[in-house]
């Protein structure tokens, strides 16, 4: 089915001549998955079928105390200062955005009345603005009404460089205007297909103007509300001890009927992941535990007790191996891995292809990660609408040997292949983390069979991920041939994510290694395709471009994706909570409830 056929079908559905279900069936027949088909409909402006709510309680409260365990507790409660997800999760007990991302990467309104769309004109046809209508009758915990002024203020607050918010990236390039008491318009500098960034999900929490107005800019740290949040969320602030405890009590005036179910919430921090898993799955002391970075084997064993379950949420995190395109062993103008050089061996496509065949992803999944790391061929693994279906992965030592032989890499006396005097000796680095070291060993072993000598190097995580310009072992400097780590895609849209392969983003000494393109791969075709996708308003075409971007990266072996890492949480059997990989763990806290 080509693009035109698809478009024809979409028009039929839009005009009402074809049922949604029939459309999905037609696409399924030609090999497109149902979620992908629904996504296409949604992106083309056909209203999304709202998922049926599974929320059962018929009155607000009565659920007692909800005890959740974050083994790294929130250290601050201002969502715009949140350093990590733990802080965002904690802030989300009290604050809410206009809209949130569900498990499948779809938008759901929270403080907005509806999700903006093309049909009613709230999403401008030229892609340069989006208009949000606020839900009426929403009140802050202190009784003040929520208005468009608060939304505009949130933008002013977050974009002010002196305030030093961590969410400024979502706000600095847009302008926000108040239309009326309950309507705001977000204006973009150019056509922007991915408009759902400002005021959405983790970075989008709205803060009350009447409490923060005096604390914008340099004085931001002094705001008393930083420590005593006043939001619109399902729970009202009770107590906060950084790193240890966040507690809240039910908001009796919450803007959704019959919610929340629990009378109070207690978020306890500290300790380690394994004992947190025990407290939920084994002793049942707690109802929910976040980020279960525990070997799957242990989780399965704890689950057998029957007190709790492990919940996996697909997301965009990808553990991948990067191949250096520049020469890390030659110094040019005071930097190694300079773009003025070319990698002596990895610049040969045959070597890259061979390496990709030598990563035994299935074993990595089976023996190291289990349910918490799924072998994949793709760099973009979720949401379904952006996933390539043409890419494949394979572990085949013989084929790798064959490719190397054909390309002229012959075995030397020491069993290591060489060509034109250059030996296939590579240094492979990653951060210190047990699964990663096991993973390194698996790759080294396979490479040895194929005549590639790999030296393993592990760097402590605080060095590897630091921004210390003086340290040679950071991942951004990449003074190495291969390296592995997990990178995150925080939004269900890969645009920002795929920026890391564009030529302009190459990490160099000149930009203090702040550029995002770590592999230093430069490709004109990729750049053009990427630039085009940034302003392409046709969602189907744009999705195709981003899928192509992923395929270029994978097929050129710029990186070797290893496993995609879904979110993992533990909860007691009775708790009903949905986990989204595109939003905070507490994204739909108002909908959590326990079976009687």
């Amino acid at each position: 089915m080509n693009e035109r056929d698809l478009r024809g079908l979409l028009d039929q559905v839009k005009a009402g001549r074809m049922a949604r279900r029939a459309f999905v069936r037609r696409l399924a027949a030609v090999g497109l998955t149902a979620p992908m088909a629904t996504q296409l409909l949604a992106l083309s402006g056909v209203a999304m079928a709202q998922p049926k709510s599974t929320y059962k309680p018929t009155k607000r409260g009565g659920g007692g105390l909800l005890k959740v365990l974050w083994w790294q507790g929130p250290t601050l409660l201002n969502p715009h200062f949140a350093v990590g997800t733990k802080d965002q999760d904690g802030s989300r007990l009290f604050y809410e955005p206009l809209a949130r991302w569900d498990r499948d990467g779809n938008l759901q309104p929270v403080l907005a009345e509806t999700i903006p769309g093309r049909e009613d004109g709230t999403l401008a046809a030229d892609g340069k603005s989006v208009t949000w209508k606020l839900k009426k009758g929403v009140r802050w915990h202190d009784g003040q009404p929520l208005t468009a002024d608060d939304v505009v203020f949130t933008w002013e607050y977050a974009r002010d460089p002196a305030t030093a918010t961590l969410t400024s990236g979502s706000y600095k390039n847009v302008t926000v205007e108040k239309v009326d008491q309950h309507t705001v318009t977000v204006k973009f500098p150019g056509a922007t297909p991915f408009w759902a960034d400002a005021f959405v999900a983790a970075a989008g929490c709205i803060i009350p103007r009447h409490l923060f107005a005096d604390y914008i800019g340099g004085k931001s740290r002094e705001a008393p509300t930083n420590l005593k949040p006043v939001g619109t969320g399902p729970y009202m602030f009770k107590d906060f001890k950084p790193g240890d405890l966040v507690s809240g009590v039910i908001n009796p005036n919450y803007h959704q009927d019959n919610k929340p179910y629990f009378d109070a919430i207690e978020m306890k921090g500290g300790g380690d992941a394994v004992s947190a898993a025990r407290a939920v799955l084994q002793s049942g002391e707690y109802d929910y535990a976040w980020n279960m970075q525990v070997e799957d084997e242990i989780l399965s064993r704890l689950e057998k007790g029957g007190k709790g379950k492990v919940v996996i949420s697909p997301g965009g995190n990808i553990e991948h191996i990067q191949l250096n395109n520049t020469d890390p062993w030659t110094e040019v103008d005071g930097e190694r891995s300079s773009i003025k050089t070319k990698h002596p061996t990895l610049s040969d496509p045959a070597v890259r292809r061979a390496l990709s065949l030598l990563v035994d992803k299935a074993s990595v999944e089976k023996h190291i990660y289990g349910r918490t790391g799924i072998a994949t061929a793709n760099f973009i693994n979720n949401p379904k609408r952006f996933v390539s279906t043409t890419t494949k992965y394979e572990f085949n030592v013989d084929k790798a040997i064959d490719i190397l032989e054909k390309a002229g890499w012959k075995k030397g006396g020491d069993g290591i292949r060489e060509k034109d005097g250059k030996k296939l000796k590579l240094v492979y680095q990653t951060s210190i983390n047990q699964p990663r070291q096991k993973n390194q060993a698996i790759v080294k072993q396979a490479a040895q069979k194929a005549g590639i000598d790999i030296e393993l190097k592990s760097v402590t995580a605080s060095v590897f991920f630091s921004s210390d310009v003086a340290n040679p072992d950071t991942y951004t400097k990449f003074y190495c041939d291969l390296q592995m780590y997990t990178t995150t895609m925080t939004q269900p849209d890969p645009e920002v994510f795929m920026l890391q392969f564009t030529s302009a983003e190459v990490a160099t000494k000149a930009n203090k290694w702040q550029g995002r393109n770590i592999t230093r791969w430069r490709n004109k075709e990729y750049d053009d395709n990427y630039t085009a996708s940034q302003s392409e308003l046709d969602p189907v075409k744009r999705a195709a471009m981003l899928i192509k971007a992923n395929e270029m990266v994978v097929n050129n072996v710029v990186v070797i994706p290893v496993v995609s890492r879904p979110g993992v949480a533990a909860m007691t059997s009775k708790l009903n909570a949905s986990i989204s990989g595109w939003d905070n763990n507490t994204w739909d806290l108002s909908d959590w409830y326990k079976d009687a």
């Binding site: 790294q72 250290t75 601050l76 201002n78 200062f81 350093v83 990590g84 460089p161 030093a164 961590l166 400024s168 990236g169 979502s170 970075a203 740290r221 930083n226 420590l227 107590d239 001890k241 950084p242 790193g243 240890d244 405890l245 109070a264 207690e266 306890k268 921090g269 500290g270 300790g271 380690d272 004992s275 025990r278 407290a279 084994q282 002793s283 002391e285 707690y286 402590t460 995580a461 605080s462 060095v463 991920f465 630091s466 921004s467 210390d468 340290n471 991942y475 951004t476 780590y485 997990t486 990178t487 995150t488 895609m489 939004q491 920002v496 994510f497 920026l499 890391q500 702040q514 550029g515």
Partner: protein, 320 residues
């Protein structure tokens, strides 16, 4: 009590505290990493944001400048603010200090109240069955690291028997007796873990100290005067045998605080130890400085207390 002596001791403590702070600051500055590490792999946060934060918090200044800055603020009573929570360090510490003091205090009381009678009884009848058993347990007590005994207790009492909670909650939602009962229940394991490790060492010292004293002539004299055995032990033996124990308890307190860091982490006790671990992991320099400074002060303070107690136990030890 000689007030001048105490003042002099406090003045002497100042240069050592200064030295400690210089070394700590230097080590922390040399250690790799920065507080905004977590932002590194998140593509939604532009690198400029990270740079701006570093600049705002003064992380790009030379080390000596940062130290002078920290010190001058500290002298004026400003402990700085945490990079992680953007909250004042003294507030963070004050929030958590009581819990640490309660847990450590309770464990010390437990250790002393177990160790002194057991040590004395063991020494009165050396090599008896009681002595053998006491020595064995003392050996086990101080050989096993707290993280191990902690985990074993959790496995037995929380997971197998389900008697005690293993997550410490500072905010117990109960009132009256239930409130105290909940607090006692959750403190039992951390206090036992810390207390028994201490008691192990103390029993051994108490025993040998009593053995030394009990053979001295004045004890024989006291006995031959016809003073009752109980009175001899309590008034004449134990009081003199306690002098080295007091030193030991005071000098071991830093080690107890060290052990408490681990114990607090295991049982999620929100004390300054767990605050310190979290701050070190996050490269939160002002908090690390603040907490270690508090530790240093406590150590100096307890040394002073030990010296003062000497004078009370043995008036012959004078202060000059």
């Amino acid at each position: 009590m000689n007030r001048q002596y105490i003042i002099r001791r406090i003045l002497i403590a100042i240069p050592s505290l200064l030295g400690i702070s210089v070394i700590l600051f230097g080590v922390l500055a040399m250690a790799p990493g920065d507080p905004f590490e977590e932002l590194a792999t998140n593509p939604a946060i532009p690198p400029e944001v990270r740079q701006a934060l570093r600049a705002k918090f003064g992380l790009d200044d030379p080390v000596w400048q940062r130290y002078v800055h920290w010190l001058s603020a500290m002298v004026q009573g400003d402990w700085g603010f945490s990079f992680q929570s953007r909250m004042d360090v003294d507030m963070l510490i004050l929030q958590r200090l009581p819990v640490t003091l309660i847990v450590i205090g309770a464990s010390q009381i437990l250790a002393i109240s177990v160790a002194i009678p057991v040590g004395v009884l063991a020494a009165i009848r050396p090599y008896s069955i009681f002595d053998q058993i006491a020595s064995t347990f003392a050996m086990i007590g101080f050989s096993l690291p707290t993280f191990f005994t902690g985990l074993v207790l959790i496995l037995v009492f929380s997971i197998q028997l389900d008697w005690l909670p293993f997550v410490y909650r500072a905010d117990v939602d109960a009132t009256g007796w239930a409130f105290y009962w909940e607090h006692i229940k959750q403190s039992i394991m951390p206090v036992i873990v810390l207390g028994l490790a201490q008691a192990g060492a103390l029993v051994r010292f108490m025993r040998s100290s009593v053995l030394d004293v009990i053979r001295l002539d004045y004890v024989t004299t006291a006995r031959s005067k016809g003073i009752g055995e109980r009175k001899v032990i309590v008034r004449h033996v134990v009081r003199n045998a306690l002098i080295p124990i007091v030193t030991l308890v005071a000098l071991q307190l830093p080690a107890v605080f060290g052990g408490a860091i681990v114990t607090e982490q295991i049982f999620r006790v929100p004390g300054i130890g767990s605050l310190l671990i979290a701050a070190i992991l996050a490269n939160d320099t002002p908090v690390v400085m603040g907490v270690t400074f508090v530790f240093a002060c406590l150590v100096v303070l307890f040394n002073l207390i030990a010296d003062i107690l000497y004078g009370w136990l043995d008036p012959r030890i004078s202060f000059r």
